[in-house]
Amino acid sequence: MLRYVARRLLTAIPVLWIIVTITFFMMRLAPGGPFSRERVMPAEVQKMIEERYHLDEPLVKQYFRYMGNLLRGDLGPSFRYKDRSVNEIIAAGLPTTLQLGSLALLFALLVGIPAGCLAAFRQNSAVDYAAMSFSMVGVSVPNFVVLSTLIYFFAVKLKILTVSGWGRWDQMICPVVALGLMYSAYIARLSRAGMLEVIRQDFIRTARAKGLPERLVIIRHSIKAGLLPVVSFLGPAGAAILTGSLIIETISGVPGIGREFVNSALNRDYTLTIGTVILYSGFLIIFNLAVDIVYAFLDPRIVYE
């Protein structure tokens, strides 16, 4: 198992390297630079700034300089936010994004799993249809529409929640629900399908036949196997919630790292863009690995070599 984890982490290195390289050169291919949008500067000042950020060097040299710093864990200075390094910006925004993401994921699990299980155990009943229609709505409405609608009704009309900001519960509900809704819908569908598959199996019939109360049949025997599809979905979902939070953070004024990504790319803040891309890829890799490990614990048939 340990060897498996080690090997997975080792294969992550070339992946990250490819991503960094692609992003680095893609950014440089783009027209415009980090300083080209500001007021026209005297040529000398321009030159000094370029020298300071090593923009006057050949691209390949800049690339190796960047990679060298990266190996030491230094993501470089931000081109846009004067006197702030990318490490600092990420350290400042990441906790908020993680908080938003994990609350949204929690919401998705708390709504999705019970809805899916209920639908599976009462297949083709009104509960089933209601849960599945709800989940269909969840996957069909873009999250910025959901968030705007929530804000419109609960903050603007009813005035029980706050329009924007982060920290108090009345600020957090709208973004968390809007971000989590789509995932709760997927989770509901997956857990329903998984449960339906499991409750037809022999060991469930055995459990029922030996007189186990229905509650125990569900809790002790079905849930673990039935929720495997949900677990495997959590890998990509966990990472995708970070991307999704990009929009949510912009609308709700959440001071996270998600909204920095698009802004930095638009501003040609090269280092900050690559920094956020590395962050996201790292999450994707770690989440997928974590899922595979959890899988092995949940399903005794899986053995990693």
Binding site: M27, V141, P142, F144, A265, L284
Partner: protein
């Protein structure tokens, strides 16, 4: 040589007979699924409305009536007007063309890449298969959506038409990975069928076997997955439009209309609600149709995704 050709044709002739019964069977099963039929009918209606847009409304999609800015829904403007007094219904109808085109073309791109890649990997087998699928595994770790965003940012100032092509290719490229996995799995089982052996004995080359015998027989699952890809792509387009990276004004898509309307949600709610609704209803129908097709064509696939 003629003999060879005849044999191949004879081998090919076997499929339509089997194919028709399979398709007929699936068709019958699909018709029984009321939600899927309703979804399909609604989709045809929406597509017709989008195609016939010029005959359905008296306005041009960029026709400005400044004096009617933000006009609420009325007889003149059935769904209201935007801040420039452009008829919202007209814009939604024309926006539907763009949204549907992006969804369909990008899905088509993903099918072409994914199916040829997956079929080649599955059919060649052995080491080629191993390398090709390992490559897909690595790509799964890439934050594709980030790269698409980056690409759209970089070509932010490109002409609107070019950006539309980029959108097609970029969004298609995000989706082909799963498509190639599904195709490969199918190919592995098709490969062992007698008609492939027959084709090979009669001297057909690898390319011919893949294109004439393998691909036509794995279309079922591919169509199912494609129907579910279209809504995913359309959501991604809406997501990009929200960031201002999708289609460009004066062109509009449902996503960009909803995102424009969001800014005036408190005062003129219809400007977001109607485009959002158009998008949601379409995705809703597509999802129901996709689910129905999956149940009809390929009951085995029910638990995937």
């Amino acid at each position: 040589m003629t003999n060879d050709n005849e044999k191949t044709r004879a081998a090919a002739d076997v499929q339509p007979v089997k194919g028709t019964s399979l398709w007929k069977d699936a068709w019958r099963r699909l018709l029984k699924n009321r939600m899927a039929v309703a979804g399909g009918a609604l989709l045809i209606l929406i597509a017709c409305a989008a195609i016939l847009a010029p005959t359905l409304t008296p306005y041009a999609f960029d026709e400005i009536h400044l004096s009617d800015g933000n006009h609420p829904p009325s007889r003149e403007y059935p769904l209201g007007a935007d801040h420039l007094g452009r008829d919202l219904l007209t814009r939604i109808l024309y926006g539907g063309r763009v949204s549907l085109a992006v969804g369909i073309v990008a899905t088509f791109v993903s099918i072409i890449i994914g199916v040829s890649y997956g079929a080649a990997a599955g059919y060649l087998g052995g080491r080629a298969d191993n390398i090709m699928m390992r490559f897909v595994d690595i790509l799964y770790g890439l934050p594709f959506m980030f790269l698409v965003i980056l690409m759209m940012v970089i070509f932010h100032n490109a002409p609107a038409e070019k950006k539309l092509y980029l959108l097609f290719i970029g969004l298609g490229a995000v989706q082909w990975l799963t498509m190639s996995r599904i195709t490969r799995g199918q190919t592995l089982s098709i490969k062992t069928k007698e008609y492939i052996l027959a084709a090979r004995t009669s001297g057909a080359g690898v390319f011919r076997i893949i294109s004439r015998h393998v691909i036509p027989n794995l279309l079922g699952p591919v169509i199912v997955y494609a129907t579910l890809t279209v809504p995913a792509v359309m959501l991604e387009e809406a997501f990009l439009s929200f960031l201002g990276l999708g289609v460009q004004a004066p062109m509009a898509s449902w996503g960009s209309l909803a995102s424009d309307g969001r800014q005036s949600l408190d005062t003129y709610p219809w400007q977001m609600i109607f485009p959002g609704l158009a998008l949601a209803i379409t995705l809703f129908s597509l999802n129901f149709l996709g689910d129905g097709l999956r149940d009809a064509l390929d009951p085995q696939m029910k638990d995937q995704k």
